[in-house]
């Protein structure tokens, strides 16, 4: 039952979920806000794929780059136009703002593009499968894992080796102190939004790649996954988000295999029972940090 091919499937789902949660927690780190508009960034990436792919005759890699850029740009714009001005107000105001931004983007897509699902053209690699070590698996799975590993490596290099990364990590530990040391708050927060947008853009490639179509409400699923994953993994650190995403994706795959056929309809219910058990065992999530700060405007 549990074959090598299945393991690759599970790890691939886990890496996708890890990426999704990583993008959400990037913003949580600096603003201490869960961004309800995060799912819509994935939607923006999807529509980027659709628009650029259908209007211009470009190699797919450029289309993908354009989609990621679109998600980064929109993420930055939401920060510039909305969040920056609400940041110093109450958390409730900030959360309602992100909910409003989410509604705005979703209905914007309805208005500008179409309420109907739009087909996205994908390169062959998304539908082909490859065989190695004696097993056959969709190439998309391997690609997801490879890209996730590359992104995680790149991101940890960015966060540990560059000035910006150190500032970001400092800000997510203690924002007020970071500001006092002369790090411009706007720069740090904008960068977090741009990185989060980039991750959402990459996620959108794979998320849209599963169904090859994009709708205005496509971001709801990933948002929920990210919510659960960051709560399981521990909301206060990037490592927590990654671990939570992997755990969630891999558990989800395993439950699908281990449950008898008759109970398969209740897969999600079993999933949530496990999540609750994990939280009873470790209420702060799997990854604990030394101290977690409440938000500072």
């Amino acid at each position: 039952m549990i074959t090598f091919g299945f393991l690759i499937n599970a790890i691939s789902l886990g890496s996708l979920y890890a990426l999704i949660s990583l993008g959400l927690v990037m913003i949580y780190g600096v603003l201490k806000m869960v961004n309800f508009a995060y799912g819509e960034l994935i939607m923006v990436g999807g529509y980027g794929l659709y628009l650029v792919g259908s209007k211009f005759n470009l190699p797919w890699i450029f289309v993908a780059a354009a989609a990621i850029l679109a998600a980064m740009l929109v993420s930055y714009l939401t920060e510039l136009v909305a969040f920056r001005h609400v940041r110093e107000k109450s958390l409730t105001a900030l959360l309602i703002t992100s909910f409003a931004v989410s509604t705005l983007l979703q209905n914007g897509a309805l208005l500008i593009i179409s309420p109907r699902a739009k087909a996205v053209s994908l390169p062959k690699i998304f539908s082909s499968s490859i065989t190695f070590l004696g097993i056959t698996t969709p190439a998309r799975n391997i690609l997801t894992i490879a890209i996730t590993i590359l992104l995680l490596l790149g991101l940890s290099l960015l966060l540990r080796r560059t000035m910006l990364g150190i500032a970001l990590r400092a800000a997510s530990d203690n924002f007020r102190m970071t500001r006092m040391l002369g790090i411009p708050a706007n720069l740090v927060i904008s960068s977090a939004f741009i990185i989060s947008g980039a991750i959402a853009g990459v996620v959108s490639l794979f998320w849209v790649g599963r169904t090859a179509s994009v709708t205005p409400s496509i971001g709801q699923g990933p948002l929920l996954i990210a919510f659960i994953a960051i709560v399981v993994g521990g909301i206060s650190s990037l490592e927590g988000a990654v671990v939570g995403g992997f755990v969630y994706g891999i558990l989800f795959s395993f439950i699908g295999v281990l449950l008898p056929q008759t109970l398969l309809d209740y897969r999600e219910a079993f999933m949530f029972v496990i999540v609750i058990l994990i939280l009873l065992w470790r209420p702060e999530g799997l990854i604990r940090v030394k101290y977690a700060e409440e938000r500072v405007g």
Partner: protein, 357 residues
């Protein structure tokens, strides 16, 4: 001395009169002169007002974002519909219904009350642990509660007819029942806010640690107000069901949450007057925009159909309000009649301090 007390008493309750009299006049004028469309809009306005006030009771006084109340509104809508429908209609509308629910048949008001009671019981059972959570976890968990309620409504075929439309509910909510319900709830919400429970809750909102140091059991006061708010929202859901007469579980999800939240935030969460004004302003703005949208689509003003324009503009307005006036139009103040000393009609609430913990 006695006279001074009387004036003080009258001044502190003047808010209720200042708010309800125009509401009654509005309902009366609508009933007398307006066409059927405007009557529908005004009825919907007062129905929404009930739900907004239910949200205000919890969110306005505790300062915690409440996602779940629209879910409770859904519970109220379904339960009260099941209570008020005749067994024969029920057999057609919900083919798989439980036998013991089939023969249940109440008149309108008891149905609404049963709906509210069921929501109160559900909220009382599940919400206590949620009230112990802080900022972000509280927001995520009540958001999760909304999703859970929605999932149950979609999948419990034997009670809700699943994701399919529930139809055949009698149109019992008139503009008068709506306005009187709104007024009753308004008085209740105002008295709640001024009560000792409301005061404790507002203290915990303005300064968590100071309130705790004074011996307020914050979890408990939040819990009571959450349950009361859920009951009110569900009562409003019952009114909504008997106004709209057919609906699906998706009527009580993100879009409606956005709608109710916008009304509350635009008016100002911290006061009952804010909830009332916000509901009126947003309802008319939304209906106006929707009329424009329909006009554009019907007359083909633009080469394509506009869908979602209303929500885009409302969301923009909400963001602008949050940026420039995060306390809402009224800023948490109440309309109040002040005798002699100050000629102003409005009085400032005790300053609410935003603390960064």
């Amino acid at each position: 001395m006695k006279k001074a007390n009387l004036t003080h008493w009258f001044s502190s309750y003047s808010t209720i009169i200042i708010l309800t009299v125009p509401m009654l006049i509005m309902a009366g004028l609508t009933d007398l002169f307006a066409g059927s469309l405007l009557i529908r809009i005004v009825t919907a306005l007062f129905v929404s007002m009930v739900v907004v006030l239910g949200m205000q009771v919890f969110m306005g006084n505790s300062g915690i974002l409440a996602w779940a109340h629209v879910g409770f509104m859904g519970i109220g809508a379904y339960i009260s519909s099941i209570c008020s429908m005749t067994p024969t209609t029920k057999e057609i509308a919900i083919p798989q219904i439980y036998p013991f629910l089939l023969n249940l048949h109440f008149s309108f008001i008891p149905s609404l009350l049963v709906g509210a009671l069921v929501a109160v019981v559900i909220a009382a059972i599940i919400s206590y642990p949620l009230m112990r959570l802080s900022d972000t976890t509280a927001a995520i968990s009540s958001f999760a509660l909304l999703i859970i309620i929605n999932t149950v409504l979609i999948h419990w075929d034997k009670v809700t007819n699943g994701p399919r439309t529930l139809f055949g509910i009698e149109e019992l909510t008139t503009v008068w029942t709506a306005v009187f319900s709104a007024i009753l709830i308004l008085i209740f919400a105002y008295l709640f806010k001024e009560s000792s429970l409301g005061l404790k809750l507002r203290a915990s909102r303005d300064d968590y640690h100071a309130a705790q140091a004074m011996g307020i059991n914050i979890t408990q006061v939040r819990y009571y107000s959450f349950v009361i708010g859920a009951g009110i929202a569900s009562f409003g859901g019952g009114l909504f069901a008997h106004y709209i007469t057919s609906f699906t579980p998706s009527a009580f999800y993100m879009a409606e949450t956005f709608n109710i939240l916008t009304m509350l935030v635009v008016g100002g969460t911290m006061g009952v007057s804010g909830a009332v004004i916000g509901t009126i302003v947003v309802t008319f703005a939304r209906e106006g925009l929707r009329a424009v949208e329909n006009f554009i689509n019907l007359n083909h003003v633009l080469p394509f159909d506009v869908v979602g324009l209303t929500e885009v503009l409302l969301a923009t307005a909400l963001i602008l309000i949050l940026i420039f006036r995060p306390e809402g139009i009224l800023g948490g103040r109440e309309f109040r009649w002040m005798p002699k000393k100050s000629a102003k009609k409005k009085i400032e609430e005790p300053a609410s301090v935003q603390v960064n913990e």
